[in-house]
Symmetry: D2
Subunit: 335 residues, 4 copies
Amino acid sequence: MIIQLEPKLNDSTKTDVLQAIKKIGYKPSPVNTQFGNYVVCIGKKDFDIRAIGSLPGVRDIHYVSDDYQLVSRKWKVERTAIDLGDGVKIGNGAFQIMAGPCSIESEAQVESIVQHLKRCGVRVMRGGVFKPRSSPYSFRGMGLDGLKMFSAVCRANGIKLITEVMELAQIEPMYDYIDVYQVGARNSQNFNLLDELGKVDKPVMIKRGISGTIEELLYSAEYVFSAGNERLMLCERGIRTYERASRNTFDINAIPILRDKTHLPVIVDPSHAIGIREFVAPVALAGVAAGADGIIIEIHETPEEAASDGAQTLNYEESALLFKQIRAILDVQQA
Amino acid sequence: MIIQLEPKLNDSTKTDVLQAIKKIGYKPSPVNTQFGNYVVCIGKKDFDIRAIGSLPGVRDIHYVSDDYQLVSRKWKVERTAIDLGDGVKIGNGAFQIMAGPCSIESEAQVESIVQHLKRCGVRVMRGGVFKPRSSPYSFRGMGLDGLKMFSAVCRANGIKLITEVMELAQIEPMYDYIDVYQVGARNSQNFNLLDELGKVDKPVMIKRGISGTIEELLYSAEYVFSAGNERLMLCERGIRTYERASRNTFDINAIPILRDKTHLPVIVDPSHAIGIREFVAPVALAGVAAGADGIIIEIHETPEEAASDGAQTLNYEESALLFKQIRAILDVQQA
Amino acid sequence: MIIQLEPKLNDSTKTDVLQAIKKIGYKPSPVNTQFGNYVVCIGKKDFDIRAIGSLPGVRDIHYVSDDYQLVSRKWKVERTAIDLGDGVKIGNGAFQIMAGPCSIESEAQVESIVQHLKRCGVRVMRGGVFKPRSSPYSFRGMGLDGLKMFSAVCRANGIKLITEVMELAQIEPMYDYIDVYQVGARNSQNFNLLDELGKVDKPVMIKRGISGTIEELLYSAEYVFSAGNERLMLCERGIRTYERASRNTFDINAIPILRDKTHLPVIVDPSHAIGIREFVAPVALAGVAAGADGIIIEIHETPEEAASDGAQTLNYEESALLFKQIRAILDVQQA
Amino acid sequence: MIIQLEPKLNDSTKTDVLQAIKKIGYKPSPVNTQFGNYVVCIGKKDFDIRAIGSLPGVRDIHYVSDDYQLVSRKWKVERTAIDLGDGVKIGNGAFQIMAGPCSIESEAQVESIVQHLKRCGVRVMRGGVFKPRSSPYSFRGMGLDGLKMFSAVCRANGIKLITEVMELAQIEPMYDYIDVYQVGARNSQNFNLLDELGKVDKPVMIKRGISGTIEELLYSAEYVFSAGNERLMLCERGIRTYERASRNTFDINAIPILRDKTHLPVIVDPSHAIGIREFVAPVALAGVAAGADGIIIEIHETPEEAASDGAQTLNYEESALLFKQIRAILDVQQA
């Protein structure tokens, strides 16, 4: 159950509401975000909803049968749009392409990709500076200095950027240089990290765990939201199954299911979803046709020479063609 | 390695070819289909290809590095089209919608759906008369009598029909009443059934096993082809994974991968792939966008009353809308 | 709900019982096996159990909440033992080792293994003559002639034999030469085959499907039982998962779970469960420690030269040691 | 390739070794642990091993074909034993039982369990104070104050303790109060956490990821080892599969495979592996029979009232019986 409070509330009114909730046998968790003040109430008892609804300070009450609450569309039917500024929005009808290399490698690389994105009308660049790697001996990214350079080039060109945060201690130093924090698949249930990202007023995109369920992804989002940050997106990037013909199995079913269960935007990552360059395009188009709110995709001037993930990365020509095909399908959907 | 023989060959010439193959250390399997005579040669030794290529009766030799051979696109690059007659083709640019109920229930039901299909311009009806069911106490279908009725209604209306065959002994009695034999997911590796379907000159659609690999599906097709039947289609219908939010996980990756590996048409079954009525349409559109050659989908006048699979079945209004959306995406792809 | 009928019943008494069941809104399925006459009643309505229990001809009524019925331990608490004759029993405290090659290759091979089994005190030999193979070009077994030879050697030495049946048409010709029909993993849901095996009075061992659930395995057993054959065993042989370090993932959990849910004996197949020769022994011992009623294991005089599955096959020395270790754990369990 | 250096080495000698490694085209990573100084060299070129082996300061060179290196048994054949002090060792023949509640709840609870463990001769207690929970609204553990109490009771009774660390910032405050840091399944690839645990001289037990591969678990261990901490154990706790009859699927195959691939001790967690109280014992015994070096198991005086995981927790009577059965199997193995 979610209680929406009036925007400005004095402490004693708020205390009265919390007391009333406890009295009916529910456990209240106050949540204050950029956009509102809520109390999430966990419990199962029957009670007279008017006893709470008529209290001073209570604007609205919603009963949510799911265990996750604030991210549920049973509470908030209207779809959320994430506004990155300068007219770049994601969700609720606004589709965004986010493209870039797996790893940021050099200023020349970033400059080249930024120019390609501008030519293609793409507004958001992806690129990793902190790289989670299975082996401790692999390249782990350019780190914060790489991010500063990446950010400077993007800002000089009006391009927004999304990059992965791996650790609590990185959140604050990254803050000034990014537009969206990405939580990677391996950190999808790093609850301390999620809690901390809830305290920051910057958009967060959470990738589904390597074998995470759709429900777990929603719970992970609930962590961030309930800690105070409503500016959230979810990303389907393929799951681990027995099939070995592709890197992951793209769970395309997750797109309509997530869009039914949550008001948050749903992004697809076709690069990781299949992991094979020549098949990224059909899989990307499938994601768009299934109703995704955006796409995040790996591109590189010369994929063969990429520092990581080259085997699933498109070059400029391939990506330019794909962007056109994506827009053609979006046109059909909106017709 | 596949050796294509001249169409009409006397026995001694053929024997000479087989001897020559054995001599270079390969195991020859002669294959005679509706369309050609081949020898599939299994082995790993190096040899001078001219020693075989120059033999009388040999038209062509293809080296195929995959373990499956005749279904491989490394041998036959041009895509196969299956011709059901009366202008109904599947594959190589021809897209077909196959729609109908999970189970054939009555003549009135078949008549009603056939009229709906005609209104929508759909040329192929699906419907089960032999039903594989987990529990022995469930409804197992109307059987051969049901098929005869189903067939009579379809033929009177110019509609082709596809239905599942579960058992060797059913192949012959079904022959006169069907246009495509469907091999169900649970029989995807019923090798005796596949062998026997190779001896019949009717198209066969093989569904991927419940947790079958893409490679196993290709091998199953190789069984039918190598037993003599080239008129084959493959069907992706979702695989079993840990995710419980949908009935199966639709492996959309399989579509571009199969289309790369084999010349056979690739069909998608969105009904089983997600198993939830309100999400069948986005998943179907994803399949089309990913490049499928056809779609097989469960529809019913009143899904709530269907004898089986009602929870994943579209009604007439929903299906008519979906067919339009499918055609819109096909138009974009061909533009 | 299972109604156990009196052993000898005239038709009109039986008809009266069936009528009474329909009257209370249940669907009756009469089942006649080697050992009893039952009516399985499927339905959900409430009724006065005495209305049925007091009818002439009714010996007993059991309510079974599972969807499978006759194989459930909620009905038959006492564990079933399968008697192969000559003192060879499986289940209800009697543990059996079944060992032999993947494929029967020659009379010399069978003779050698039979002697090894006799030296080790093993009473049952396994060996395939009809082999399901992914590729149509692989060796598919020695067939019925091989079985006749295999059977003759076993019978001359007091050894029982178990072998796979792949097809309805094989059941009758195999009947005189075998002691247990094995249903392979790929045929675990071949319902026509299961139905037909229900009509034969010989023990049947059903392997779990390659990615079959525990519940599906119980349903497959219900097919055989409800068609008339109570002499049934189940076999856990590993399931397909994402893990690639072993051939399959041995679901050891299935052993206590199956033993809780069904009265039928539960066998483990460590050879397929891990698929790596040097690790077969620890996995076999784990199966015994978890409570299995028997083990089926691949052995060969020279595994390196086996016609199939050599990589997971033990030689005589390895298997003799394992049999000793198994018996040591059985001794601890019975202490 | 692993180069073991002499224990005390001046900087210039070390620099010379690193230079020589770079010269042959390998990338050297110096590793200094509690027990030794190594250089891990990543590369693929051929070179004359004597060119490195004869350098001053080089004690030994081992070629390791796996991608993980320091945890590989190809380098260190002898099994590692972890010494917790006071005669409590794990690995290389020393088997340990670790038992306790999912969550630490109160001093009375800890006191009661400690007394039970002492009566049973168990030397290590488990218990969570930082709890990873899917939902942000669930109980997240007693935190550091709970740990201090837990630790005080254990130390007063000569019991060692293992508890989960979720976050880098927790490592240092926990240090004085624990004997083993546990890395939970959801943090199995939290590389920053693993790196940091490599800098601490306390044993670490890493649980396999919820759907982690065996190889990924070894890489995670390589992170800790290569950051400086050799005192490591691995834990198999069941993986996520399609099967819903148990909480997880216990990958018993992982035990012999891990023991073949690594010299580190391998622990089994039967409680999470099956998740059903009445079946924990057979699964635990299976783990012991398969060769595990230890077991970690959830027990509680009254599992029905446990703050978390009650459904998979044994009571005192059940656990005392299980401990006896475990020791009986250990006796057989050592006979």
